[in-house]
Symmetry: C2
């Protein structure tokens, strides 16, 4: 399954900071590019901005079709006129994360001007580095304080890191389906994905641009493994159960016991094969590593509460009952830490059988929670209706 790189050379809106960025690992990137999209209008006081932080394999195309896949924006049921994140009222902003593959500086970026890509030599980045890059963008746009920072999964990690690192720059924070650290089990699943990429000879030590063949099979296996963790067992059972379908004639390895295959097999293969056309393998390595290293308490001598001492940010922490990747218990621990420093925090567990992916799906209770919280905060922030 040799595949060529279909991500190449889409012109993403971006800003470049020629002074670069010094990372947690000590390396200074000589130049920093942040690709981003905005929706709605920034008010004259620049006080109505909401930053959305995206998850591992998502991007800045929150509420408009992706220029890579042509598919609708990944949160277009949440962000838009009259929607929970109301673009008639708020100025919404989303940046591709540092280390990503949709226009921001990452392993695909040239190491030196006009030179070869960084590839596997791209320095390791942290969630805090991602947040620092986003902070540059908000400064560039003249935004001193964000009205809200919102994100699910790795996006929720960024939300917590924003609140911990720039407390005065965040009026309200909504970490969804997230945690204050990455668990051993989550690290283990990421490791399987990375090993699948390393095992693909087309990975070529990370220098796959040299042949034009991308490590599609390894990346597909990584995606398949990760995808299972995004769903609940109940959701898989409801969607597919043990239903069988005819196997594609071409793939003899696909043949099941009687020439059939389970629908869930077919679904997973589809998830894997479509992913490789929209994501860069070295970015996958870089970003999964950033998630693995995430541990806010460790940044504060093991004391999670200390990360938020004195905060005036209003928090709304959301978890989903069937999410086993970022279980409710981990969100509750964040809420407890915030309570411990008398922060303004509400915590909502949404009852659903859809698993981790629920934050992306049609979950009316979640959407009502989000709309209600933002409305209340807007009142406190003195934002006119």
């Amino acid at each position: 399954m040799d595949q060529t790189d279909t991500l190449a050379e889409i012109d993403h809106s971006h800003v470049t900071f020629p002074e670069g960025l010094t990372l947690d690992c000590g390396v200074t990137l000589p130049e920093l590019t942040v690709a981003y999209r905005t929706y709605g209008t920034l008010n004259a006081e620049r006080t109505n901005a909401i930053l959305i932080c995206h998850a591992l394999t998502l991007d800045q195309y929150v509420a408009e079709p992706s220029p890579v896949t042509g598919k609708p924006g990944w949160w277009d049921s949440v962000v838009g006129p009259g929607l929970p994140i109301d673009t008639d009222r708020f100025f919404v902003l989303c940046a591709n994360v540092l280390g990503g593959c949709m226009g921001s500086t990452g392993p695909r970026s040239p190491r030196t001007e006009g030179g070869e890509p960084w590839g596997i030599d791209f320095p390791p980045v942290t969630i805090r580095d991602m947040v620092r890059a986003q902070k540059r963008l908000t400064e560039h746009l003249g935004i001193t304080r964000l009205f809200a920072v919102i994100g699910g999964s790795m996006g929720g990690m960024q939300v917590l890191e924003w609140a911990a690192t720039y407390p005065d720059a965040v009026f309200a924070a909504v970490p969804v389906a997230a945690a204050s650290y990455h668990s051993a089990q989550n690290i283990a699943f990421h490791e399987v994905g990375r090993q699948a990429i390393f095992a693909d000879p087309d990975w070529q030590g990370g220098q796959y641009w040299r042949t034009g063949r991308i490590p599609a099979r390894g990346l597909a296996v990584a995606r398949m493994c990760a995808h299972i963790t995004y769903l609940s067992e109940q959701a898989l059972t409801r969607k597919f159960g043990r239903r069988i379908q005819a196997a594609p004639k071409a793939a003899e390895e696909a043949i099941g016991l009687f020439g059939d295959m389970f629908e869930v097999q077919s679904y997973l293969r589809h998830q894997g094969s479509t992913f490789v056309n929209r994501f860069d393998a070295n970015s996958y390595l870089t970003i999964t590593r950033a998630m693995d290293y995430f541990d806010i308490a460790a940044e504060h001598e093991g004391d999670l509460a200390a990360a938020f001492r004195g905060t005036r940010t209003r928090f709304c922490i959301v978890s989903f009952s069937s999410d086993w990747l970022f279980p409710t218990e981990e969100s509750r621990a964040v809420a407890r830490a915030l309570n411990g420093v008398a922060a303004n925090v509400s915590f909502v567990e949404i009852a659903t059988d859809k698993g981790h992916d629920a934050f992306l799906l049609d979950e009316p209770d979640f959407h009502r929670t989000l709309a209600g919280f933002l409305s209340g905060c807007a009142e406190h922030a003195g934002l006119a209706e």
Copy 2:
């Protein structure tokens, strides 16, 4: 990571049935070999035999060192003189499953005498086919009725299939950490493993014996993914948490953020790399498929209880509280079906944080349950102390 085949040509004790075996898929294997080990002594009446059914990647070396790895028998804390399965009292028997790679007929077997191995052309087998092969062995040994059939995980599937297919041949049945069908989530995890094997160019369409290079990287990824599902999140956290160790200098892809890696990464890599020396990739494909197709209710018009109607077998169903691969609920469903046909059934959930693998580990409550149940059954069966 080219590796050569280290499984080759160990002389496993076995019996060959020249009449072959007709499989559920309709194919007749022209010859059937069953490799097996025994412990203890068969009594004169041949009524004290306990058949142990092994899990996916285990084998017949239950209570003695493996001739491949040199490691102790996988259940030597359970099977032996004075142990829960007491070889001073019972004659214990374990056969390598049909489709396996430890001496029983499988993808490594020659397709025709002296010819090339079956490889990927080995016909798909079912759990029931495995049980049929074991039945041949028990008949060969002159055993009409087994005192007990016991097994964990896929071994538990075989136990249920024994009781459903040969009810008069099973006095007592102990399915441990099992279910009456394989769930969509479990099929999905197996599919990831198979795709990792298919993606390895050293798999060579399943004909890896031609070059002597085995698909070690793909098989290692498959094992790593599966291994996570054998442990609980709590067990991974307890064993490794987020502890970091120095990365091996040689492997640049192993380097973490600051030249370190998480202990859980190192552990998983070890699990993957040791597995490939003791297991055959095509057997892994064959056996995972057999598990995926397992669904006793489907063999009885969707009615699980019907599979056991009229049974006189005594059942002891065991699950582990933190097992998320075969959750307690699935064992409870089997117990309910057995209750529905007024079978003699006890159901025990063992409280443990060790996950699915608990059936292989030191779990005193489980061992006491096993010993007590067998003792009671021995009394009912009229086996002298």
